[in-house]
């Protein structure tokens, strides 16, 4: 019994070591980036809440100024594939695949910014 | 030795039945998955006929779920002993049928993963929102009612519980009728006659389902139903079938009287193709007149006749629901009364609908859920109606 306990304990220690490995944390392509509606730390924790509550205000009251998924996509679409989806480096897909949290936003919303030319001109610069 | 062999055979048969049920349910779930993956384009439903075969199955099951409790109500609320003995089975069937019907409805949704939204956001003006409470309430109250019936210490509570269940299911079936009654713009619906019609339909179809299940259980256990009880039950079925004919007649006669409804009635009753066929042949002849013959004609009325009558009533119910639900949508909306209309969106045209395999499998899957719950329930617990005369 004691031997089994010792083996299990050792395994647990080894497994926890993997938490410090950090080899699979996504390195995101933030796209155009720039000034966001809030600071990155806040957004990382609260963007879900923001999306969920802000969308009701936008749809039901028509308030579109500051918060807008379209604007998020405009800034964060990768300049490589012009989207926030597509590869595990893309802004939304990267973290969501890593955290295994399925999102269905882009079943309806476009994952690409308004105009392709906008991003391409940026790349051209 | 005989008893042991019978036990073994029963056990094997039970597992076979469960396997069959699971197969049907699996087919239904596969169909639902297919529909969710590819969208409703894989079904026969479209922008003109938005509710189809799954809804025919689901509404049949939900209406029967309420009506089957009649047997229990006549026992607990009106105190008649033969019915009281049948109350537990009626309660189980009610839960099983409601579960089956709701399974079909929820899986047919455009976004079935959003039932949580339906359970947390309520527009209190919508019948569908009321139904979330009415249906969950029925599950809860029938569960409590079953407990009062089957737990000896709680038996004295069975009358109040039975009364609550009786009132609740009348409200629930009225709600089901109101789903259609509230549709002001559709010529097939939008009438206050529908809630009473649905209630009477529930009485007939619920009893038919009960009689079939009871006959199966008695056959399995090699028991015979006492002729006096059979007579009461069959006469009750006959009475309910006549009542449905009465209300369906009132509905159509009123519609026929209004000039603006005559084109619609002509479509349903005369030249709509499948719809008059199902109405006259399926519902009226096979589903009503033939069962009445089997119930009342001298020389009929035996247990086999009653079983056949019950099955025919159910076939008739599917026919009537198909005509009501699909036929009611196939006839074009009267948006511009007095004008002939054409457009790219089917205005002025009879809509075409053909049931697709995924829809039928989904509907059958719901029946499978009801079947499984019933089969496992009657095997696990004491639902067999035992009459004092035995």
């Amino acid at each position: 019994m004691k031997r089994i306990q010792a083996v299990l304990f050792a395994l647990a220690l080894l497994a926890s070591g993997a938490a410090f490995a950090d080899v699979t944390v996504p390195h995101l392509d933030v796209g155009k980036g720039g000034h966001c509606v809030n600071d990155p730390k806040f957004m990382k924790l609260n963007h879900g809440d923001l999306l969920k509550h802000q969308r009701t205000i936008t749809v039901h009251q028509g308030v579109r100024g500051r918060y807008s998924l379209e604007k998020c996509v405009n800034c964060h679409a990768s300049r490589v594939n012009n989207s926030v989806l597509g590869t595990d480096r893309n802004f939304c897909q990267g973290c969501h695949v890593y955290a295994a949290v399925k999102i269905d936003c882009f079943e309806c919303h476009s994952s690409r910014p308004e105009t392709v030319s906008e991003t391409l001109t940026e790349i051209a610069k | 030795m005989d008893a042991l062999l019978k036990n073994r055979r029963d056990s094997r048969n039970f597992y076979l039945l469960v396997a069959l049920g699971l197969l049907v349910v699996a087919a239904g779930l596969a169909a639902a998955h297919y529909m969710e993956e590819y969208g409703h384009i894989v079904t026969g439903m479209n922008n003109q006929v938005v509710w189809g075969m799954p809804h025919v199955f689901a509404i049949f099951m939900i209406i029967s779920a309420s009506g089957v409790l009649n047997v229990a109500s006549i026992g607990s609320v009106f105190g008649q002993a033969p019915y009281k003995a049948r109350a537990p089975l009626a309660g189980l069937l009610s839960i099983a049928l409601l579960a089956g019907g709701l399974t079909v409805l929820m899986l047919d949704l455009g976004r079935p993963e959003r039932v949580i939204v339906a359970a947390t956001h309520f527009n209190l003006k919508s019948v569908f929102a009321w139904n979330v409470f009415l249906y969950s309430g029925l599950f809860a109250f029938v569960g409590i009612y079953l407990w009062t019936l089957m737990e000896k210490r709680m038996n004295s509570w069975s009358k109040p519980a039975g009364l609550l269940v009786f009132a609740w299911r009348i409200i629930l079936t009225t709600g089901t009728g109101m789903i259609f009654a509230f549709l002001v713009a559709r010529q097939a619906y939008g009438t206050a006659l529908l809630p009473p019609m649905f209630i009477v339909m529930s009485f007939a179809w619920g009893l038919a389902v009960f009689l079939i299940v009871q006959a199966a259980m008695y056959g399995w256990n090699e028991m015979q139903l006492h002729p006096a009880i059979l007579k009461r039950l069959k006469n009750l079925l006959g009475l309910f079938v006549i009542s449905v004919i009465y209300l369906v007649t009132a509905y159509h006669m009123t519609n026929l009287y209004f000039a603006r409804q005559s084109a619609f009635e002509h479509f349903i009753l005369v030249d709509g193709g499948i719809y008059p066929m199902l109405f006259w042949g399926g519902y009226l002849f096979v589903g009503s007149l033939l069962p009445l013959f089997l119930i009342y004609f001298p020389g009929m009325g035996g247990s086999r006749h009653v079983l056949a009558a019950s099955i025919l009533v159910i076939l008739g119910s599917f026919s009537l629901l198909y005509v009501f639900i699909v036929g009611g949508q196939a006839f074009p909306l009267s948006i511009f009364p007095g004008y002939e209309v054409t457009s790219s969106f089917g205005d002025g045209q009879i809509a075409h609908y053909a049931p697709s395999l995924p829809e039928i499998l989904l509907g059958c899957g719901g029946l499978g859920v009801a079947f499984l719950i019933t089969t496992i329930g009657v095997r696990a617990l004491n639902f067999l109606p035992r009459d004092a005369a035995d």
Binding site: G65 | N46, V50, S126, F128, F182, L183, G346, D347
Partner: protein, 243 residues
């Protein structure tokens, strides 16, 4: 001396008062003529249309094409395809008179689709536009059963390449939004009305029914117009001339 000062003060005071009196009116004027993106829609506005069927040409479907382009609709006409606007050809059964008109969501004041929606996804915005909140839509299609105008469509297939300002998806119900994405941006005209103007027919007039000085209000006061299925008492925001 003191009288002069008093007069000056009086003049200043009255000028201020006058300014205060006009200010709210100017604010309303602002609200009616394009609210900023950060402001919510307000019931001071009621968006509506006046459609002159006598100007509507049979066979022309510029409005439909414009709507499809603006909202990213593929434009198919299979029974499962979404149509937010359609041209309807009418013939009076008694007189034989032929008419043509565009048909879309009528944006009722008492919408049956809003009453029946179980989750509240179908709703009427403060400024009169009836919309579907597709975050809440479960795809039950009850609103489609309830609509007297068959205005709504169900999305039967997975969608791709939606326009960024018109999100739409499989399994939800949709209908004419009076180009809400344009309205909220301040371009107070719908794609269909604009296209009809460009085609020279000018059959569709879009505007604010609550503003007595808008073009639509002025015209609706002077010409005979009706609402489709007015007998249902829904008070739609769309009015039709020549029916």
């Amino acid at each position: 001396m003191s009288e002069e000062l008093d007069r000056r003060q009086f003049l200043k005071g009255s000028a201020m008062l006058a300014g205060l009196a006009i200010a709210p009116g100017m604010l309303l004027y602002d609200l009616a003529h394009g609210r900023s993106l950060n402001e919510p829609a307000s019931s001071a506005v009621r968006w509506g249309m006046l459609i002159d069927t006598s100007q509507c040409e049979s066979g022309c479907d510029d409005c439909v094409k414009a709507c499809n382009k603006e909202n990213g609709l593929p434009g198919g006409t299979r029974p499962t395809d979404e149509q937010w606007i359609r041209k309807v050809e009418l013939k009076d059964m008694r007189t034989g008179k032929a008419t043509s008109l565009p048909m879309m969501c009528q944006h009722c004041e008492e919408p049956p689709c809003v009453d029946v929606c179980p989750t509240g996804a179908s709703f009427r915005r403060a400024d009169g536009i009836v919309l579907v909140d597709r975050h809440l839509c479960i795809g039950c299609r009850y609103c489609m059963m309830a609509c007297p105008y068959k205005a709504r469509s169900f999305v039967h297939e997975p969608l791709h390449d939606q326009k960024p300002d018109v999100p739409r998806g499989k399994g939800t119900v949709e209908s004419c939004t009076l180009c809400v994405q344009r309205i909220d941006r301040g371009e107070n005209n719908t794609a269909c009305a604009e296209a009809c103007s460009k085609a020279g027919h000018k059959a569709i007039l879009f505007g604010n029914l609550n503003d007595p000085n808008s073009e639509i209000s002025k015209r609706i006061r002077t010409v005979a117009s009706t609402q489709i299925r007015a007998d249902l008492g829904l008070n739609p925001g769309l009015h039709y001339e020549g029916l």
